[in-house]
């Protein structure tokens, strides 16, 4: 199973997602990226993230995205 960091890297290879920057505020993920990320996570982890949870706060860092995935019952290390 791919990890969240791999998916992010696949999406935008030009950025380093291990930094402490805010993915959204600092423009690392744009509107299409977020849409893409949601559907890639759907495919990878079999989770469909609810529209009301697609908000900047849940996508601003690696830890936040991992927490979101866990919230949908994924128990493996992501």
């Amino acid at each position: 199973m791919k990890k969240v960091i791999d998916i992010l890297q696949e999406l935008r290879p030009e950025f380093d997602f291990t930094t402490n920057e805010d993915y959204i505020e600092d423009g690392m993920l744009d509107s299409f990226d977020v849409v893409s990320l949601v559907s890639m996570m759907d495919k990878e982890y079999g989770i469909s993230i609810k529209g009301r949870e697609i908000v900047p706060e849940n996508f601003s860092s690696l830890a936040k995205i991992q927490a979101l995935v866990k919230k949908y019952g994924v128990t493996d290390e992501v």
Binding site: I24, S31, D33, S36, I54, P56
Partner: protein
């Protein structure tokens, strides 16, 4: 009589001087301030000796961009909005064709502009030229020399060959269009518009000039709202936006994410959309949520000033039925011509051609491309009369409404049948698990390919399609995608899809 779009602003600034006209993330501009700022820009341009010259504007999606457009108009020049996110090579191509008298930009984009534009002294920084005191007399004298057929803007559309084409639109065409928008959708001073369309995309013409004419207020919705649809709905709710003109993909996404019931958006009373095909199923979800709102599908290429036909959704449409593009806008005439250049009969398919004040003057510095599509009306051998050939294939349904079938370039010959790929896409998109569908044709293998997003296996999808379209139209190859590639305007990117398929 209104002769120029600046006449709108003159009248509205008198009537509603202190009413907010345009609002973005950082600033609010009243009609009076808008008029004053635009005249400062105009005075700078006039003093620089620019008249009837193209002015490129690279100010992103901001109120300053609107000021610059109107500044150019007051100076008797015409403007071209540049997409600041575009690759530099494309900006360079546009500037090479346009040879602008000036590029108005700000410090955020000035570096990019400087490397794309050779004439450095013609790069004007917005904040600098805004310091210029407005000279009313100077501006008035220029305005007196203008006529309604003078050019207002040149918008560049992506040419299929990769060289952008600059569509030239005059004041008169915009005034004609905005009159129609006002009377058809009842835009007035109570209208609160939520702008989604980037300024380099001509849907934004409705937002800008309806606001100017009617003394409405336009909110330029921050880009980041489109990454988070729930934020977009909250923005609509908080700003009490009642009128929107968006691309279908934005509406579709909100419906697909089940967000319609998540937010109080009853303020919305007019929902207009254009730019690509609106899937009927998602439209029905919206209509169910906002039963008393007006929903209208608008259709038209940039070459005829935003829209030339429209359909107000006022009857029940089944999910499998395409949303019509409807009937001609007032003062536009539609000719549907078959291959013999004769008007079609009953439900025969043909190319949609347009006649009217709305027609562009052609493509900037491109007489060859202009002559290909702005042609003499083949039904009139008696005197010069231009029509624009859209390249879109349509037919009339039994109600006399126009139905969009697809691009002429997407019309294929397969197993001896003439097929519109768009028709297959509409059928596939009507099936609930399918979120998006795009159909391609591999001419070498004589094979129809369906690319789709949605939780359904190819085999099942194929079986369901068998009951919706004739067998010869059922795609042979299926590609399930995680996501549909979209181009800068938010439309499905067929070029990219083709590349992806070739690679796989």
């Amino acid at each position: 009589m209104v002769r120029l779009v600046t006449d709108y602003l003159e009248a509205t600034a008198k009537k509603y001087p202190n009413k907010p006209a345009f609002v973005d993330e950082h600033s609010v501009l009243t009609f009076c301030e808008l008029r004053d700022s635009a005249k400062r820009i105009a005075t700078s341009l006039i003093k620089a000796g620019l008249f009837k010259k193209p002015i490129a504007v690279a100010l992103g999606q901001s109120v300053q961009a609107v000021v610059a457009f109107l500044g150019a108009a007051y100076a008797g020049c015409f403007y071209t909005p540049l997409d600041t996110d575009m690759p530099e090579s494309r900006i360079r191509k546009i500037l090479e064709t346009l040879e602008p008298g000036a590029v108005i930009t700000n410090t955020a984009y000035s570096e990019k502009m400087a490397s794309a534009f050779n004439d450095q002294k013609q790069i004007l920084i917005y904040d600098d030229i805004l310091q210029q005191k407005p000279n009313e007399e100077l501006v008035d004298n220029i305005q007196k020399r203008l006529i309604d057929t003078d050019v207002l803007y040149v918008l560049f559309t992506s040419g299929s060959t990769g060289t952008p084409k600059g569509v030239i639109i005059g004041h008169r065409s915009v005034i004609d269009y905005i009159d129609w928008v006002e009377e058809t959708f009842h835009v007035d001073s109570g209208s609160v518009l939520g702008n989604q369309a980037p300024f380099y995309f001509d849907n934004s013409v409705l937002d800008i000039y309806s606001t100017l004419k009617n003394g409405a207020t336009a909110y330029i919705i921050p880009r980041k709202c489109f990454a988070f649809p729930i934020r977009l709905l909250e923005y609509v709710r908080d700003k009490k936006i009642n009128t929107v003109f968006w691309v279908p993909s934005v509406l579709t996404q909100i419906a697909n994410y089940d967000l319609l019931d998540e937010c109080e958006i009853d303020c919305l009373h007019t929902v207009l959309f254009a730019g690509e095909v609106m899937p009927t199923r998602q439209l029905n979800m919206w209509r169910k949520r906002l039963p008393s709102a007006l929903f209208a599908n608008l259709y038209g290429p940039t070459e005829i000033t935003v829209d030339c036909t429209y359909y107000v959704a006022n009857r029940v449409l089944s999910d499998a039925e395409p949303v019509p593009i409807g009937i001609p806008c007032r003062n536009s005439d539609i000719l549907v011509l078959n291959e013999k250049d004769e008007l079609v009969h009953s439900d025969e398919k043909g190319e949609l051609c347009v006649r009217g004040t709305s027609l562009a003057y052609g493509y900037y510095k491109n007489p060859e491309k202009t002559a290909e599509v702005f042609v003499q009306n083949p039904l009139n051998p008696y005197y010069p009369e231009k029509i624009y050939r859209t390249g879109d294939i349509v037919h009339y349904n039994e109600r006399g409404e126009l139905i969009y079938d697809g691009r002429k370039d997407f019309q294929i010959k397969h197993l001896g049948h003439r097929i519109e790929l768009g028709e297959i896409e509409t059928a596939a998109a009507s099936l609930p698990p399918v979120k998006m569908a795009c159909c391609l044709f591999d001419a070498a293998k004589d094979q129809i390919i369906l690319c789709y997003v949605g939780d359904i296996a190819a085999k099942e999808l194929r079986e369901k399609l068998m009951s919706l379209v004739p067998e010869y139209m059922v795609p042979k190859r299926y590609e399930q995608l995680d996501l549909m590639p979209l181009n800068l305007n938010g439309k499905m990117d067929r070029v990219k899809l083709k590349e992806m398929l070739v690679r796989s």
